[in-house]
Symmetry: C2
Subunit: 338 residues, 2 copies
């Protein structure tokens, strides 16, 4: 962080100086793929994934240190009765992650992925976005910087997930703030809001966006007003991964909303990101379309924690293994097409 | 095999005496699921998969010895110029499987799956189905029996795949024979037939079904006339898995066509089967709909070898791990809904 200037200055600087894809590495993947013992294109999206890994690492496709990073935060907006679960559950689930009892722990075991969980001042919920900014600029920038530091350099495939009671309300507010439409189309049940609970949630999203309306033109300003600590940290982590040439798999609605803030600031900012799984949360597919992405998996999940990204990481690992491990027609003594 | 009676008699007997799902095991999964540290339903299809494993094994969900079984055969119909690759490639690819150079080997490494490859008299292609039956009844029944023996007892999750130059033509003929419509809607590029090659392929499917038309009412008779050795072996393996309470993941168009023969004989015959991945081969999704199934993955692959099933097995393993490994609300000290 710079010690002078405005807190967001360093982040704006990064957002305008991101590295692009390594076209030489992509060309090498395409060239090798031509000789692998399969019909051209027969591995479908696995072939795209091999190219994507090469593009954003600058090396042949490989996944040797996959990491799931889960960021947890608490939200003042829960006082509006937007979630059927109490805010205490955020810290309780962080403890559950630590003791290995959550869904994400199991998927990390199944797919042999590392897991790091970062809890962000859970005892200090952000401001209630229906009435005030979630964070001031300094706190938002510092949390982004924390997210950047937390993952830098320690992985070659980063899965981004989150935990935070109330944060599908936050995601809906971010999307409504970024893309307009009405609050209802961005707001879903989250952990299970329905009936009056869902009505309160939609109303909270509507009031939040209306309250901050005059200040939403700048994506980072929108982030500090409508976001939250885990949202800011995820945005920082995704940006840091780009700078360090680490491909990213973004998890569900909340993680994708954090990513969308970067995309609003620079529409190439998510070129190193894939969406692992389209959530059953209805706003997610709408958001994914705004970002021009195609999710890898559709399994009806809506849990967060990085679970969708971690499942997708299994496919990505297999794609890398196919590209590097397969024999060529010549090596295998297999006849190519007539 | 019985030593008296007609060769298909034993298979018909099995098809009318298949075990059903274990409802007690399913109920136990549903009961435990209620207390796991997640909102109800939040793991989507992973929860369905946990129930499916319990239903067809009769035990709590677990995948400890997953196996990919790949069956390879050669087809007389290749003389009709239906594939851009020569028939020699079948044996060459079997050698490639043995030396670890194929895509399926890599996916088995990535997902920690066992792999067994069965080549079925590759030096003896089946009859050209445009003019004669692929197999006589005795050979067809013996090949089904081989398929039954080959996998019985050695796994708790069976992925069924195949290799055989010309066998998407066979799959198309089976589907056209079972479901009618026209040959064109069941016939796709396979390993890459296009233009005149695809026209020849469609014509071969049309001629084959027309030639055998009077004898296609009985699914096993259809199998011996329009099928092939790897098709018969896959049908046998799927049936044996049912008898031995082994859940099955069926791979792409060709493997699903083999499964469809069983379904035509008894419409509950595939209740223990899931379709791992919907192939880019256009007939596959149409066939899956006929079977009333919903594929787990859609990754644009069209390779066979069991690759789609093996990728899906990674998801199934994760589903079992989630169900058995997750803590309950009480164990984790997490508050349930307000």
């Amino acid at each position: 962080m710079s010690t002078s200037g405005l807190p967001f200055d360093d982040i704006r600087e990064l957002l305008s100086n991101m590295p692009g894809p390594d076209e030489t590495a992509v060309a090498a993947v395409r060239e090798r793929d031509r000789f692998l013992t399969k019909p051209p294109g027969a591995l479908g999206r696995l072939e795209e994934i091999a190219e994507w890994l090469a593009a954003w690492t600058g090396r042949p496709p490989a996944v040797t240190r996959p990491l799931v990073a889960v960021f947890a935060g608490n939200h003042g907006v829960t006082r509006q009765g937007v979630s059927p679960y109490p805010s205490d559950v955020t810290a309780q689930m962080v403890a559950n992650f630590a003791s290995g009892g959550a869904a994400i722990n199991q998927i990390c075991i199944a797919n042999d992925l590392g897991l790091k969980v970062f809890d962000l001042a859970l005892e200090l919920p952000t401001g209630d976005i229906t009435e005030e900014a979630a964070l001031d600029e300094r706190a938002c920038a510092a949390t982004m910087a924390f997210g950047m530091e937390s993952i830098a350099g320690g992985t070659d495939l980063l899965c981004i997930g989150e935990m935070g009671i109330g944060n599908t309300t936050i995601a809906a507010a971010i999307c409504h703030g970024l893309y307009g439409g009405n609050a209802e189309e961005w707001t879903g049940p989250g952990t299970g809001a329905q009936g009056e609970g869902l009505t309160r949630k939609i109303a909270a999203v509507e009031r939040a966006v209306a309250h901050h309306k005059a200040h939403l033109g700048d994506p980072l300003e929108l982030l500090r007003r409508l976001g939250g600590r885990e949202i800011a940290a995820m945005a920082g982590a995704i940006l840091a991964a780009r700078m360090e040439r680490i491909p990213v798999i973004v998890d569900g609605y909340v993680a994708t909303a954090a990513a969308a803030v970067l995309h609003a600031a620079n529409d190439t900012a998510l070129d190193h990101c894939m969406i692992g799984h389209v959530s059953a949360e209805p706003g997610h597919i709408r958001l994914i379309e705004k970002l021009g992405k195609q999710p890898l998996l559709t399994l009806g999940m809506r849990l967060g924690e990085g679970t969708g990204a971690a499942l997708a990481a299994g496919i990505v690992k297999a794609a890398a293994q196919c590209h590097t491990g397969m024999a060529t027609f010549e090596q295998a003594g297999v006849s190519d097409k007539d």
